[in-house]
Symmetry: C4
């Protein structure tokens, strides 16, 4: 995808400036020449607020720790997404947010280093027009389902978004021995392919990526995927492996009925706790 | 059951007004025409205080999270019960409480959406004159006992209220493929039937319902049912499935002796912690 | 054992008065007529401070919850011990403490109800001159070792006080079907017999009793017994039951070397955290 | 190794004075006569700050509890290291730090008792010129891997520093029945031998030692070793023992790429939380 270098006129109310700074840190092979992607303009302040809250909420729930990240597609452009600079989730503030194009180029990094795995987000936004928010986490409860042959499946109604089971992306299959990081376009593309049209995908020996049509939904799914994994692990131990999962039709009906009302009820609570010191 | 539309005279001290507003949100098939159930009057302020505290206590104990609810039968009428509007438990205040009739119709919703699963509570109050409080939770430790064939049984004296074992309600058996929610009278009635005369019933792939003759007892049972489940899971793993449970006679003697003094000692502590910010 | 009714002269600095009030609540069969045990006098303020702290420390470590209790032998008399009135551990203050004789009679209850299981403490003080502090807890991690045939054994050096393994008291063996509570002298005596000369004993389907020559040691043992149980459970699951425990000689050498210096280092930390609001 | 007794001239800005006091508490056999090791001078204030923070961070993560310790090699001398006096980790302040030589002799204890297991640190600094920080912990999740024959191996990328698997030091093999403490030079030397060139070693029935080229890296490794152990335990239970670990080449590539950037991102967060009351 070519970047555009239009000199868009932006009012002073732009959240992100258009100064031509490159993201420092990892420069990927996909960066062709001196690309200065243009900003899509100021993002919706409500989206910014939710994105910053998402980092904190997921850290408070121990879905994220010092590592991992959340992003949102820009409300003004399908070709832009927003995520923090490389920083522990709990420390993220609006000033840490950077706008990126789908090649992972920062619009205006201003010397701030981006996450090396922004390509997880970029390639999913490219592949999935329906996705508006992405979470990448190292949540411990999920690791066992990526390093054994046991599929992660919905044991309770709060995890209906899993559908049948969660696919597993093993970077070794396509790329052999690596440092395990999805740190370029090709790896991001391979992960997006494993994700397909689903709501989440495990990353063997690494973590998970979870997507959604909004920040609250991506966050809610991340929290309940963790809870489902812990619960399935206990159920399998208790039942000697013989567990009654949600029937795919049940899962579908729950999704059709609004998937826990988009986690509205919980989102309100989580946001209120995220703003406490 | 027909609702009554008596124009009762209420003093200003009524906790709930009698304005003729319907509960918004899910309108069930059991609502016949424009029903405006009459209020039973102001509920006992001590009951209101305990009910609000119950929501917070159960959230602090992680029995409830952003979902789940507690209700109390109205002290003035066997045909009325009180629960919050649709809201995360930790956020519930007295102003969020709504009075309902046993068909799940709100007396005075004032635009506040009720929980879609209020029928869990309504039908139990209808079936069980002895029950004065009901808790519906998604407590993770309990899910395995609803999705495997392993019965949840009392491993220690604090769970004597289980009796022999906890029955399991599987909505699929009576209603086939659903969105898993007990969101109407028929489903509530089926759940109440599974509960029978017992103190709790698991809901396969969903959670649990716990009942009691008072709010402190329903809350105490919910907390100790969770603890019992976690402990039984560990005991079964340790003992290869061979575990000594409470003998039914032991369980009965504990109940006869006052069932942990109605959790008085703990309730005092829990209430004091619930009121902290 | 006969109680004495000496009219001791006490200064105003007595921590406990000598008013002749009986403990309300459970009156045991061992109370012969109107017994007013004489007080041993004011207990050492440092001991009172440590005892109150012990209740809070054990609650903060989740060894105790709303139930369970701690006691200390009176520094002035081997025939007296001190514990709280019936109250959740976290709420205990110096004013809640009651002095008892070894028959479980309160010196001066002043209308405060005692714990019905004070006989656990009384009979151990009677049987064990070396014991100066007793903890009774329902700690969940310990229950599996009382309800399966798996012995609780020291997996790490912090649990050397276990010796070879922890004995199990099953009230059913001597008393048949009961409400599981050690609520009289005969039951207390049977439990003390199972404890023998050891540092702790499990109570099947109920909890544990832990003893020590001082409050810090009884508290330290209670905390590390819980940790050892959780760790042993994991080790057994991991190793398919094949675990290397502390050799009895190792355990003995650790005890001879001072058993973790009497938990001094940790006690200082625990006390400082117990005094925070 | 001989200690030096040079009378170095120190400015008033020395962090540690040169008063000739011996460490009280355990005096080891390796102390020859009245040795007063000379100080290497004032340590870098940034190092002191990080060392004090490390104690608190590891306690907040429950890697350390009331026991365990952290040290740093002195920035001015390879023959000196710094650790706290014998104190619970959460209570450590700069004034509690003591400088030691590699025989475990305190430069200036000023009546403060040292940790009896300082020899764990001393002998590792002696054997490993690359090591600049050492952590000794009793972290419960690690104990099972030292008391069963199951090797602790990297299940996810955050534990690449494990390499193939973590060696186990069993004090019984070389020293027979002991009190399990590495409380002298000979035992420290044996542990250092088991550690070899690795990043960590388990201590059977006791805990772990973790090393690193800096304080943040030793702390990061301690935290992620705990997380890896918990995760491996779950994965083994889930997968019936059949788990896909990091390939040694993957582990190496992650190390070569900077091992999670030296935990920088997380260290910033951890330090900020350690300074809160």
């Amino acid at each position: 995808m070519q970047s555009h270098f239009a000199q868009a006129r932006f009012s002073r109310r732009n959240f992100l400036t258009t100064s031509a700074l490159f993201g420092v840190g990892t420069i990927t092979a996909s960066l062709r020449g001196s690309q200065q992607p243009a900003s899509a303009g100021a993002a919706d302040p409500a989206l910014i607020e939710d994105l910053v809250a998402a980092y904190r909420i997921l850290a408070q729930h121990e879905v994220l720790d010092g590592f991992g990240h959340v992003s949102s597609r820009h409300n003004r452009s399908a070709n832009r997404f927003i995520m923090s600079r490389s920083l522990a989730p709990e420390l993220v503030t609006p000033d840490d947010l950077i706008e990126f194009d789908l090649d992972g180029n920062a619009v205006d990094a201003r010397g701030r280093a981006p996450y090396s795995e922004r390509f997880i987000h970029a390639e999913i936004y490219r592949a999935r027009a329906d996705v508006k928010a992405v979470v990448h986490a190292h949540t411990p409860s999920l690791i066992p389902y990526g390093v054994t042959s046991v599929p992660l499946r919905p044991v309770f109604h709060m995890a209906s978004f899993i559908g049948d089971s969660v696919p597993v992306f093993d970077i070794r299959k396509t790329f052999g021995m690596t440092d395990m990081l999805v740190s370029d376009t090709a790896k991001g593309r391979a992960l997006a392919q494993t994700l397909g049209g689903k709501t989440c995908a495990l990353m063997r020996g690494h973590g998970v990526v979870v997507v959604g049509p909004s920040i609250p939904i991506a966050v809610g799914r991340s929290i309940y995927l963790d809870l489902n994994a812990r619960t399935q692990t206990q159920a399998m131990a208790l039942g000697g492996g013989k567990v009654t999962y949600l029937d795919p039709q049940e899962a579908q009906k729950i999704m059709d009925a609004g998937e826990n009302r988009g986690y509205e009820r919980a989102w309100e609570l989580w946001k209120s706790k995220a703003s406490r010191p």
